[in-house]
Symmetry: C2
């Protein structure tokens, strides 16, 4: 039996992995700090920062597979928060508990910020140097270093998914896509950068499916989870505006691009496409249309 433990299962990314995992034949055990959000999944309400939680959880579930998505992810704070080293501890503890309980394959979640952003884009898992410049990225990188060596010495299979720029349902309303969509719907102004910089955007439901497929494969090591296409942020904003309706306006150039943001951050996706055998289901236009429609129905969330 393939029995997966998914952490961070109530979060932006984690919740999108549950249905794809079930579709791949996994018995899905989802862990999150909130109460069970819905029926149809074995839910474990647990705080992985509790020093004894992971051991109990892995003992109870005895998962063959681990998809570790949980981390501190509050927008605006997660880059520098002292919660990051706490999640290093929690993640290593979870890995140990998973191995001790007989686990066979683990996938952890990293970030494009592990790469040296001064290196040429697109970033390649095998050739682009790593140089995490934030506490968040350094802590993610440290977990990967431990995971890779510990899995090798324990005979456990492992991979490390580096996420790039995601958008989709349940995103924090302060972030780019919902921020613009909501401002325009309300008839306000969306203050944006010039938007000439290019990023690699992926709908979070596609990312969830990619993570499920990566876990179900035997692919080892770091794998970029991204679209493989570099798109100007301006084009994304214009696409959001086209679907949003409302009488608001976008002000390009009203915000300066923060220091240290390179012209392009995009992914080589050869490993994801050729080794895992996965491509995104949605074009960017389809994905943006989907998420703008979702925000129309969930505007109340943004007011919370």
């Amino acid at each position: 039996v393939k029995r997966v433990l998914v952490t961070g299962a109530s979060g932006f990314v984690g919740r999108q992995t549950l249905a794809p995992l079930a579709a791949l034949g996994f018995e899905v055990h989802a862990a999150g700090r909130s109460p069970a959000p819905a029926a149809g999944v074995a839910w474990h309400e647990v705080d992985l920062l509790d020093p004894f939680a992971a051991e109990r959880l892995c003992w109870d579930v005895a998962p063959s597979h681990l998809l570790h998505v949980a981390w501190f992810a509050e927008p605006g704070r997660y880059w520098t928060s002292p919660e990051n080293p706490r999640w290093v501890e929690a993640s290593v503890r979870l890995l140990r508990a998973f191995v001790a309980a007989g686990g066979r394959r683990a996938v952890g979640v990293g970030t494009c910020a592990e790469y040296d952003w001064s290196a040429p884009s697109p970033f390649d898992e095998r050739t682009t140097p790593l140089r995490p410049a934030s506490l968040y990225a350094a802590c993610k990188h440290a977990v990967h270093v431990v995971q890779e060596a510990y899995a090798a010495s324990s005979g456990v299979s492992q991979a490390w998914a580096r996420l790039f720029h995601l958008y989709g349902p349940h995103e924090h309303p302060g972030r780019l896509v919902p921020g613009v969509a909501i401002a325009l719907r309300r008839g306000g102004e969306a203050a944006c950068t010039e938007g000439r910089h290019r990023r690699d955007f992926l709908h979070v439901a596609d990312a969830g499916e990619a993570l499920a497929r990566l876990l179900d494969s035997g692919v080892a090591g770091a794998v970029n989870v991204a679209s493989g296409e570099a798109v100007a942020v301006r084009a994304v904003v214009e696409e959001v505006a086209r679907h949003s309706g409302g009488s608001g306006v976008v002000r390009f150039g009203a915000r300066a691009l923060p220091a240290g943001e390179p012209d392009e951050i995009a992914a080589r996706v050869d490993r994801l496409r050729d080794e895992v055998g996965w491509r995104p289901r949605r074009t960017l236009a389809e994905g943006i249309a989907d998420v703008v429609a979702w925000w129309r129905e969930h505007e109340a969330e943004a007011r919370a």
Copy 2:
């Protein structure tokens, strides 16, 4: 007041740091799992793998400085032991507790095994690539990654001491120098490799002094703690034999050099010499003479 917390203070390396730290004007608080070995030092009997120990300890001591030496170090087992990821957790937890208690400067202890051993020796902190090939080295490297980023974001000063090959009192009797010294004293055979490979040897008392000086400096980042000289292992064995007396014989070539052992592992010590301003007190000949004499008086330890 400069108040230092030293972990691993009853171990091979940690015990050698206490007197040099006191000589530099530190109020020394030593932590180890064993009961207090001697008077004259504030001793804290504590197991840092206990999830609450570090927080209590840092709260009690309120150290301005941290010298974190503790780790799992059992010869023959430490390269691959699952204790290594536990020490990642314990080390990150200790760092967090130190910062929370108002700590200002931390020095951690790494290893020459963090470097890519296929790179040319001597290894330089700034230019030699890192490629930890063992679970031990990967876990040490991960702690350094977290320490560096976390210290930067917390306004804490930090350095990372990479130790090379140490020898000296209290070394595990199964290791090279005591192994040869004891075998020869007993009139037996010391089965050695050909000993053509070159290593960078430092007396552990010198290493202890170097760590104390590094902690007392403001030098940031990785610093090799080594002699800076590459010496053939054969020459070290011959020096041990010259001092040991006894009727035993050395059999060079009786053992094969393990796979993956490069011809030379030595350190560039420019940072230690020029920035920290420290050089070893002992030549290799003096150091070996010292430790052979020590083993003569402590042969009983080797029988334990």
